[in-house]
């Protein structure tokens, strides 16, 4: 079971939250679960696309009070 990490990308705009996710992914272990918080609607669409493209596991997206929680698992 990997570690769970929260990346607070609130207040940033595309591609800021994505780049913050990638910086943390690089330092994470396979199996770690990363949850990005973002109030940027573009990032909520773009991050899952990027995750699928590069081959990590996209877990889920949910929206709460204007904040998207996008969860990704490192697979490689």
């Amino acid at each position: 079971m990997g570690e769970k990490k929260i990346i607070d990308g609130r207040g940033s705009f595309c591609p800021g939250p994505l780049m913050e996710l990638i910086a943390v992914l690089k330092m994470s272990q396979i199996g770690d679960e990363l949850e990005v918080l973002s109030n940027d609607k573009g990032s909520a669409k773009d991050i899952p696309e990027w995750v699928r493209k590069v081959g990590h596991e996209y877990v889920s997206t949910r929206e709460e009070a204007g904040v998207w929680h996008i969860t990704v698992r490192k697979t490689k």
Binding site: G11, S12, F13, C14, P15, G16, L18, M19, I22, A23, K26, W50, K53, V54
Partner: protein
């Protein structure tokens, strides 16, 4: 499968174009695309260490980029190199004309490059110009 490659040529010194160039370069670089960025003309002075001059915002959207605190274009270019292995090559002609010494440039920039070498690197790649 052949590696996908793009070259991003940046000659503008205005914020909207610098921002779009940085966005394209950084997202491509972290998406498995080989990215070479060629900096020339008005774009070069912003990459001198400690440069205090801010680019002209150009239009209304440039103003919004500042007031809404969009990611800074220099941060995105640096992340393209650090997170995605992009190369940023300053144009040797632009450095000569502007009188900028190589050792005054940001450390994440590569070696000054002439057009012959750049065109060689760009062969077969998509080229985006800003």
């Amino acid at each position: 499968m052949a590696v996908e490659r793009i070259c991003v040529v940046v000659v503008s010194g205005t914020r909207e174009r610098l921002q779009m160039a940085a966005m394209v370069a950084s997202v491509a670089a972290v998406s498995g695309i080989e990215v070479t960025i060629f900096l020339s003309m008005n774009a070069v002075p912003y990459f001198v260490k400690g440069a205090s001059v801010a680019p002209s915002n150009e239009g209304d959207f440039g103003n919004l980029l500042v007031t809404k605190k969009a990611p800074d274009f220099k941060t995105l270019f640096r992340q393209a190199v650090e997170l995605g292995d992009a190369k940023i090559l300053p144009c040797s002609m632009a450095l000569d004309i502007a009188g900028i010494e190589t050792d005054t440039l940001e450390s994440y920039l590569g070696e000054p490059t002439g057009l012959t070498s750049f065109l060689d690197a760009a062969r077969g790649a998509q080229i985006w110009t800003f």
